[in-house]
Symmetry: C2
Subunit: 424 residues, 2 copies
């Protein structure tokens, strides 16, 4: 006998949750479409060559790789596992989007505003509420080098979050160029910028002392590490832009952040927008603006993104790009935590009948009820035996609890009397 557990780190979704997911994704789609975005789909699998454009690094360790098939697979000749694999499950939707754009650009508008909703896969250590297959809902703008892209992306995703019931949230924005400029002014060596950034990203999770230690381990002199952490962790929220400027960020960078902030700050009810020098994002591919969306009831950010102007160059294109990805599973958890009243689900009629003598009547009745907008469940039941209503009521109450049923009734058929509709 086999285990019925899902594959390690992955998850089965019960009916109530599937309905909730589909309803919310429907709202996201319609809001994003109203902002001029068009939805695309790309395969779950990409070649490893495309997934690891610039070396792989952390992502490569977390990626599910596919064994070659047929004659291409030769264990005896393989000198390393790289010889045995050719594809991998995508770890985000951004790399596939860039490949898609390069492949189809002559059939797409310029700039191209894309929606992509689908599963990504990362073999991270399993944790409560985090799964190795997870749903992302991304929007991106390819081909707009101006801050209009950032403004549109923050506004549209804020509108979308608000529409699905996330009504108080904070968008933290920053610009990697500002941090680079400040780090350089603080005496950080050019080749240590990226690694210092990765350490800085942890300032909201661990203590400043630990961050300084990590910077030392990454090669930064302790004096400089201390100065950097000191300066950036003590910026007053009331005069962030001025302080960044004082610390060495250049005028164009400050003006870019200011324009984004100014046009987004009052755009969506319940959306707070702040410039946060400690928002740097883990990923290597961002080139300037980065943003992250947080909610009081979510332990980690519910959305994040930024500008990645160099990624299309993998495909020989010089096209600027910017995007934001909603972590749909985390958003669902957050809505769960908010304990909102759930949207009205399904009204169901259970038709109880004896299959040997009433099949055609039951099928006819089910057609009528469906036309009237009910979900109909046929229950075959031998005349004279014990009524199934009690068992069905227990089941229906469980479905109500799971959120996939709202009201239910029983309908019995009988040879002698008119059909009876029994309200529960």
């Amino acid at each position: 006998m086999k285990s019925s557990k899902p594959f390690r780190g992955m998850k089965d979704v019960l009916p109530g949750e599937v309905e909730r997911r589909n309803a919310l994704l429907g709202i996201l789609r319609s809001i994003y479409r109203s902002h001029g975005y068009l939805e695309i789909e790309t395969p779950i699998v990409e070649s490893l060559d495309i997934l690891f454009g610039s070396g792989g690094g952390e992502n490569e360790k977390l990626t599910y790789k596919l064994l070659k098939r047929g004659e291409k697979l030769d264990l005896d000749e393989a000198t390393s596992v790289d010889d045995l694999v050719d594809g991998g499950l995508r770890f985000d939707l951004t790399v596939p989007l860039c490949r898609f754009y390069a492949e189809n650009l002559h059939r797409l508008p310029k700039p191209f505003r894309s929606i992509q909703i689908g599963s990504s896969f990362r073999a991270e250590r399993p944790q409560r509420g985090r799964y190795r297959q997870f749903t992302q809902a991304d929007i991106d703008i390819l081909g707009d080098a101006t801050v209009l892209a950032e403004i549109e992306l923050i506004t549209a995703s804020g509108h979308a979050l608000h529409s699905i019931g996330i009504n108080e949230f904070t968008v933290r924005i920053n610009d990697r160029r500002a941090i680079d400029q400040i780090l350089l002014k603080s005496g950080v060596d050019d080749h240590l910028l990226q690694t210092t950034m990765i350490a800085l990203d942890k300032l909201d999770k661990v203590s400043p002392i630990q961050v300084v230690e990590e910077m030392q381990q990454r090669g930064l002199p302790i004096k400089i590490a201390e100065a950097v952490v000191d300066r950036l962790s003590q910026v007053s929220p009331h005069r962030v832009l001025d302080t960044l400027s004082d610390l060495g960020a250049e005028e164009t960078t400050i003006s870019s952040l200011q324009k984004i902030h100014q046009n987004c700050a009052h755009a969506i009810k319940g959306m707070k927008v702040v410039v946060d020098p400690l928002c740097v994002r883990g990923l290597g591919y961002y080139t300037s603006t980065v943003f992250e969306v947080s909610h009081a009831l979510s332990p980690s950010s519910i959305a994040g993104g930024g500008r990645y102007d160099n990624m299309l160059s993998r495909f020989g294109l010089d096209i600027p790009a910017c995007g934001i990805s909603l972590g749909f599973d985390r958003i669902l958890n957050t809505l769960e935590e908010m304990q909102l009243e759930r949207p009205k689900g399904t009204k169901r009629i259970y038709i109880i009948f004896d299959q040997d003598i009433e099949l055609e009547n039951a099928l006819a009745a089910s057609r009528e009820y469906r036309r009237a907008g009910y979900s109909v469940s046929l229950v075959s039941h031998r005349r004279g035996s014990r009524s199934p209503m009690k068992r069905l009521a227990t089941e229906a109450e469980e479905l109500k609890r799971q959120g996939s049923l709202d009201e239910f009734w029983f309908q019995t058929l009988s040879e002698d009397t008119e059909p009876r509709l029994l309200m529960h």
Copy 2:
């Protein structure tokens, strides 16, 4: 520079097709829900142990397998590729459904009517219009041993097909037990039943002589092979059940087919239901009823299914099961062939403005138009330079052609005059 082609045998989906797919899947979901089915989701990945419950066979060759990760992966110790892999991409939705049911049955109604919509993966030889990642929309009934399950499944999927615009189609039904009984009466050995069935399945694709040859290769004496092909390929459509009975099918089998036929034949407008002794289905797991749905404009069947009463026993459960799977990509191709008028798409306004001086006005105008139900696309354009309208019109016409846009207008902003709405 990297190639931007999708992974071998897989497919990018452009915006017009994504919208069509989503609209049709929405209709399928709502029809199936009205028939009392509940939607579930299972991971894309299953352990190989679960995928190949009974030996694997043909499916195993077509399955994408996942390399183990971390310490579990050890090339030096591996004696065969089996030591290097632990999971695989699902090749259908039926095996995952059975695992899901075994894992969650205490939280599900009995019988359980499930909807599952998602991607399956098979590394078949790439062909025009057939892809290695494809969408299936399955409904199944677990826990009903009577023909009510078959009747409900055929009626619900017929209703669903009709509702998305497939208005003339044929459901061919058969019962593997009938064929088994006839083959046994014709002198076929018990252990050759399965292999003879696989050869018989090809009678609608190749000549009777070729089928006889294949049966011989599979170990059947030529006399018996000829008799079997002769008998089954010449059943008159007007008296199929009588003929099957004459040839040796047992009364309970005939009565089961009759009851299904009788209750489905007039259930859905445009749905023809016929008993076809040559409909046997390729897969090994079917135990009695099998069905296949064909359409004049589709070269291969657009749906198929049957009863698989033994599959849950892999998980120690004695539960009868029956299901039907819509080949969603083939259905989409068929609708394309039918050249129906497409559903009304999006109305879009292009707001053309100078970002340096009109950004706030443009954002405000875009909010107004969105509230009025339009999709809004912001077009930044420097005052005094050449108008982008001609380029935008070309793009919009391409989107109309792809089916993701229906009507469009241009809106210009100006300091001096009222906003002008230019109809195209």
